[in-house]
């Protein structure tokens, strides 16, 4: 039996919006799970149901063997870091951290030493007597972390805790949160719409879309083995190049022609032998997805020729934009490579990394 189990969880708001439709999820003790998805996909709603701040419409939540579906928040033994941090402005930092401990009827000396302990971890010892208004955003955030850390709850929830920090701080706090998790082993559910954050932090990522779980897996699985077109489109910066194509076989090679026949040059995907189990797909329309970093560039040799339209140097890598099958494709090359606009090149696609999706269900077509 898993530590936390969400079964057929559903939430319909009084105004009729169904924000969460049927979520099943199992989480092991000590896991750091990230709920990832675009804005409005129901992440916050899911988290608030876990916290008891939102009534569950259907389904159940079982934490550590106990059904908490309809318990009030205070009886769930859960801590939470809010997007706005929600540190109480009329209490000093020390009082903020101590408040939950007082409610737990801890004795004064134990509270003082606990406050001291977490303040040290979060590096806010010097600010214990200050009011939140006297702190910077980053410091306030650490107060929120310290407060959650102090209660040592069964489950730690975080709703986009980094989104109000500036880009640089976000990365360092991210590392800090990961460090804390490594030390405490607290079971954590972290909500974000930022895939970089998700990939950096997660033991497992839960990709959500329109109130449903799209895919659950490790960072590697989610990124490289996108189970659905949505995930392929959502993950990666820039995301995978996606095109609706008709597959054909020509002289032992697999060729993708642009759907709708706009007269664009078909794309040579490589030798048929690189795509075992392809037979059933020849002649079908499918979605083709290729990640920008899985395309290499060579001298023009008559195969998959394209001209470069835009060059976006990024320092560590370079993004090229070309026209493939009538659509705009991005190609990511390592290093600061020198290309001219209008230059003719040949695209070399890594056949092992090409992904196909069913045109109707948009689910991954697995090749075996």
């Amino acid at each position: 039996m898993s530590y936390l189990k969400l079964s057929s969880l559903k939430k319909t708001y009084p105004n009729g919006v169904t924000a969460v439709k049927d979520i099943d999820l199992e989480i092991e003790k000590g896991e750091f799970v990230v709920l990832l998805g675009p804005s409005g996909c129901g992440k916050t709603t899911t988290l608030r149901m876990l916290a008891g701040l939102e009534e569950v419409t259907e389904g159940s939540i079982v934490l550590d063997g106990k059904d908490i579906t309809h318990l009030p928040p205070r009886q769930r033994d859960i801590s939470m870091i809010f997007q706005s941090y929600a540190v109480w402005p009329h209490m000093t930092v020390a009082e903020n951290i101590a408040y939950p401990l007082k409610l737990r009827k801890m004795d004064k000396r134990a509270i003082a030493s606990k406050v001291e302990e977490v303040a040290k971890i979060c590096k806010i010892v010097d600010y214990l007597d200050r009011y939140p208004a006297q702190l910077s955003g980053g410091q306030r955030q650490r107060v929120a972390v310290a407060r959650a850390l102090a209660v040592n709850s069964k489950l730690s929830l975080m709703d986009e805790p980094l989104s109000n920090l500036d880009a640089k701080l976000r990365v360092s706090v991210r590392t800090f949160l990961k460090e804390i998790h490594r030390n405490t082993g607290a079971t954590t559910i972290f909500v974000t719409h930022d895939q970089a954050e998700a990939m950096a932090l997660a033991d497992r990522i839960v990709v959500m879309n329109e109130g449903r779980v799209e895919q659950v897996g490790s960072t590697r699985e989610i990124y490289n083995e996108c189970g659905s077109l949505f995930t392929a489109q959502f993950m990666g910066t820039p995301p995978a190049n996606i095109q609706k194509v008709a597959l054909a076989s020509s002289r032992g090679r697999l060729v993708a022609a642009a759907g709708g026949g706009e007269g664009a040059m078909p794309l040579d995907l490589g030798d048929r032998s690189a795509f075992p189990g392809m037979e059933g797909l020849i002649g079908n329309e499918v979605f083709l997805a290729v990640r920008p970093e899985n395309i290499a560039i060579g001298e023009p040799d008559g195969v998959n020729e394209a001209s470069i339209e835009i060059v976006e140097p990024q320092g560590a890598y370079t993004i090229l934009v070309t026209r493939v099958l009538g659509g705009e494709w991005k190609i990511m090359l390592e290093g600061d490579v020198d290309f001219r606009i209008g230059q003719k090149v040949s695209l070399k696609i890594d056949p092992g990394k090409v992904m196909f999706y069913d045109a109707q269900s948009t689910k991954r077509i697995s090749l075996s």
Binding site: A51, G52, L53, P72, P73, R74, I78, S79, M80, F82, Q83, S84, A86, V87, W88, P89, H90, M91, Y99, P100, L103, R104, R130, Y131, P132, A133, Q134, R147, V151
Partner: protein
């Protein structure tokens, strides 16, 4: 260059406006305060003094031909004869009633003797009993103390009723969306547009039925009607400003709803609660019209002052009464002012 001159211009104008406004507001208050310390004699003088006086520059002259004494008071550059008498008691009474000067007939006799010994008017010192008007107000206006307590009771009940009902309404308006909630909150303000009389007349009927007529509590009910609306209006905007997440955080970390209200919401709304109670206090404290309708044997202090004004031809006594009325509200306002601007960590929230 011209920008700087423009700035100087606007600063000058700004300063002028400020001084004018201060003058318009402060001068009458100062004059009012001075009047409350003025004797009857001073109150009739023109031009009136801006600052209160403590004693009179005076002379006493012995009139050998009529064998009586004349009191001369300084008026402008000259001295004016204000009282001529041969009787020490008469002189003493005049000093007390017209000049607010307490001087016993034997002391007057001593002065008379000094004047008689001299062939000129002798300078004498007449020291004013500075707070005489206030003493007279308390003696004259019978039951002042009781009226003061009535006022305090009415104000206390008004604060309590307005805060409890208005605060709850404000919280509901801020936290729960329901149909017509904006219509409702706007209509709250409409209640405030009714003159107090319009509200109290129909209420009198009910209050009489409840056997509450002529009690401070009944007054408080009438005062509360517009104040509940105002309190709801003020507190709802403050409650709206208190992020729901602050309350939710408390609940997630182990607090009940009630505990959250007590330890998070109310302390954060404290400035608004205090401001509302100030309004409630002032409404109850300063009213005399409603009290006129709603009380009989238990007037409030404001009503008492109002009556004194009506029965007095000289403004000094009513002014003293008004200052008596003003002091508690000033004290209350000043105590409360600190809380209205309450800031945690000296930074605005």
């Amino acid at each position: 260059m011209s920008a700087r001159r423009g700035k100087l211009w606007s600063r000058t104008v700004f300063l002028l406006i400020l001084v004018t406004v201060a003058g318009v507001v402060l001068l009458p208050i100062l004059y009012f305060l001075t009047i409350s310390f003025a004797s009857n004699y001073e109150a009739y003088q023109f031009p009136a003094k801006i600052l209160p006086t403590f004693s009179y520059p005076a002379r006493l002259r012995y009139n050998a031909d009529t064998e009586n004494y004349t009191l001369l008071l300084k008026k402008g550059a000259d001295f004016e004869a204000v009282k001529t008498t041969s009787d020490a008691s008469d002189f003493s009474l005049y000093c007390k009633s017209q000049l607010n000067v307490l001087i016993s007939p034997p002391a007057v006799q001593t002065l008379f003797d000094r004047a008689k010994a001299s062939d000129q008017a002798v300078p004498i010192k007449l020291r004013k009993d500075f707070f005489r008007n206030y003493v007279v107000f308390f003696i004259l206006a019978e039951g002042t103390m009781r009226a003061l307590f009535n006022s305090l009771k009415a104000a206390g009940w008004t604060i309590l009723i307005s805060l409890v009902l208005g605060g709850v309404t404000g919280y509901i308006l801020a936290r729960y969306k329901f149909r017509f909630s904006t219509t409702f909150s706007t209509s709250l303000l409409v209640v405030r547009m009714f003159p107090a009389v319009a509200l109290s007349l129909p209420l009198v009927v009910y209050i009489m039925r409840m056997n509450l007529y002529d009690t401070p509590f009944a007054l408080a009910i009438v005062y509360s009607v517009p104040n509940i609306a105002l309190t709801a209006w003020i507190t709802s905007s403050i409650f709206k400003g208190i992020s729901v997440e602050l309350e939710e955080a408390a609940m997630v970390f182990g607090a009940t709803r009630l505990k959250t209200l007590r330890t998070i919401t109310l302390p954060l709304a404290f400035p608004a609660i205090v401001a509302s109670s100030l309004y409630a206090f002032l409404a109850a404290w300063n009213d005399s019209i409603t009290a006129l309708i709603m009380t009989n044997d238990n007037p409030t202090l404001a009503l008492l002052v109002y009556r004194t004004v009506g029965s007095s031809t000289i403004p000094n006594l009513p002014a003293a009464g008004a200052v008596v009325l003003l002091i508690p509200s000033l004290v209350f306002t000043f105590i409360i002012k600190n809380y209205i601007n309450q800031l945690w960590g000296k930074v605005a929230l």
